[in-house]
Symmetry: C2
Subunit: 400 residues, 2 copies
């Protein structure tokens, strides 16, 4: 039925150096191996695989993947038939061995849901959740006890967008909030770089295998992220990044984060796709406004206009979106009496002419008795001065 040797010995040997199977019983070791195989056989987000594995387990699913008599709840016979045809071209014994070899050499670790380091947030994707993750760097970064934030946006960002991405990433990651992004040029790169610069934690999700840097111009950056944080992908080593995988990678960015912030995004930016995944998952979504004349902000404004995203102008706005208390200081106050009545009395005073209380009452349209009380308070506050002709506003000299 299946071209794969799903014995425990084979599974443990295949996973050596990529996943520690020492503490696992045979079934668990085989399950882990089966998940690794599935990640090479099916494309990310394949809901039929998700349903199959949730029902039968990864091993049994794989063993019966080519079985035309298989029936399973939640998937029609037709869907199963179509899925079998999708998997068929990749169902051969060597499907995963190359990937595991590369992973072993490059220090890439395979994570599966039974691992303590598995980021359980991604299971919110349900039948579209990843079956396994391939990680370069510190796997312990992923299941964060703190909320994390995705900072994403256009590759064709502006200096303004880069600046804001860096400000947000530095302040948030510096404050212990991991910054998740996609390692792309533009906003993603600015966010990762700023997080690294302040010694914060940052996680990059790639659309292809984690052993290859994409874009290649970010090879150094991605290496740095792997050293200080983690570089993660759902597809095995050796896989090329494709448009489909970019879109599916975006769902993982959204799922791994408690909120997604779109800094700059054009009309058809991939980060809008990430934003919609965040919405679908019930995660927080924020967008940073920019000049309406800037095409690089059109997508962010679209999210704001539709009422989908919160308006983000500072790291404090992000903290609020994450349910954390902002570090904001209250707006400045100059300690002046700030009532409507005081305003009307001030309006009626001159800095030059002396005016008596009757005159001020008439000018302000207020009762004389109220005017007199307020004049006394403004006098105490040093705002006005008294002369033989009545009252006037204190000049700077008189106040100083």
């Amino acid at each position: 039925m299946t071209p794969f040797d799903l014995s425990a010995a084979t599974a443990r040997r295949a996973l050596a150096g990529v996943s520690d199977t020492g503490g696992l019983d045979d079934a668990a070791a085989i399950d882990r191996y089966a998940r690794a195989i599935w990640s090479g056989v099916s494309e990310p987000g394949d809901g039929v695989v998700g349903t199959l594995v949730a029902t039968l387990g990864a091993t049994e699913s794989l063993a019966r993947a080519a079985d035309p008599t298989l029936r399973i709840e939640g998937v029609t016979a037709r869907e199963l038939e179509q899925a079998r045809r999708r998997w068929h071209p990749r169902l051969h014994a060597t499907a995963v061995s190359d990937s595991l070899s590369i992973a072993r050499v490059r220090g890439v670790r395979l994570l599966t849901p039974d691992d303590v380091h598995w980021p359980a947030q991604v299971d919110d994707l349900g039948r579209h959740a990843p079956l396994s993750l391939w990680v370069r760097g510190a796997v312990s970064v992923l299941p964060s006890p703190h909320p994390s934030v995705a900072i994403v946006g256009a590759r064709a960002s502006t200096g303004y967008g880069d600046h804001i991405a860096m400000e947000l990433a530095a302040e948030l990651s510096g404050g212990g909030i991991p910054v998740v992004s996609g390692a792309a040029y533009g906003i993603d790169g600015a966010a990762h770089r700023a997080a690294l610069r302040v010694g914060g934690r940052t996680v990059a999700l790639l659309a292809g295998g984690v052993e290859r840097a994409y874009p290649t111009g970010h090879t150094g950056l991605i290496d740095d992220i792997a050293r200080a944080g983690a570089v993660v992908s759902e597809v095995p080593c050796g896989s090329t990044p494709t448009k489909w995988r970019f879109l599916q990678r975006n769902r993982l960015i959204a799922a791994l984060s408690d909120a997604t912030i779109v800094v700059e995004a054009g009309w058809r930016s991939g980060s809008l796709n990430t934003a919609h995944h965040a919405l679908d998952l019930g995660r927080g979504l924020g967008a940073v406004p920019g000049p309406v004349t800037s095409p690089a902000s059109a997508g962010a404004h679209q999210l704001l206009r539709a009422g989908h995203a919160h308006c983000i102008t500072s790291a404090d706005d992000v903290r609020e979106l994450l349910g954390l208390s902002p570090t904001a200081t209250p707006p400045p106050t100059d300690g002046r009496l700030a009532t409507d009545a005081a305003m009307r009395v001030r309006d009626a005073l001159s800095t030059r002419s002396w005016r008596d209380a009757s005159d001020i009452a008439r000018r302000s349209g207020m009762a004389r008795i109220e005017v007199e009380a307020l004049l006394g308070m403004l006098h105490l506050g040093g705002e006005i001065e008294r002369g033989t002709g009545g009252w006037r506003r204190a000049t700077a000299a008189a106040r100083g």
Copy 2:
């Protein structure tokens, strides 16, 4: 009881040249005169006057304004007593005669609710509605059959804000939507100017008397608005603009408009006050985003963040807020097959190597039969070419 001569003859004589009383009976003429007097006796937004006039009428209210035995539903005895003290300093026979003289000389017209040109929208302010309006220019502009829009914002605007205010005002007023604003420096001035330039209708609400330009640097602009549209105030001629009157003037800007758009506003900008009046009145409210690094956009972002304002990036967004159909064209499409499956097949194709359907099926993680169907469609669309070795993406040369 009252220092005013509220006879019909006096009323008609006093209003001559300011309000046409020819078609009015005596009571109506006196009512109009009483409203003119009230506009000099009370400050804008005095809710006690509003309740009094709604209950007793303007004439009877004025006749009994100083009467300590007066009782009225909806106003406590204490509130009445306080109100009497407010009005007292201004309750004298000459209160309004100077204002009417100036109005007569300067061609200012007095509008009251019985006038066909009264903009009934302001009555939504209830007991805080103006009792009368003083208008320089075309009174017929006010009760617009079309929706109108207020474009307001910071005096200390940036070039960006001025640009956007002009763009919005020109496009909206050029399309028949009157633009209402406050004739201040910055955003207000930019909006009025752009409306005038395209021959659109525009209305300026002033905090002081309409015969004096405030700010004085806008004397020419305000004269132009009076010629092409209308300059309006609630306070009579000769009144100085005070802070209190600016705030009350803002409620009229909001009330006269179906939607208020804040283009730029600092943290404590007066235009935020206008925005909150628009909200209170159930009018539309929009805010234009800008760079989050620009203090001139902080107030606009505050409105967006609080979810109070719609995000406005174009005149079409304003039209939508007004319930009008936008003139928008659909986003551009390049006519390519835009399904997930087509994307995955494209991903699997090379521009250099020829690949057969089996290879493409394996690379895309799709069934071979589906891949073949899509290859056919992409071929029809000219996107791919067929060779002896299979398929590849069409080069520009092959497509051209």
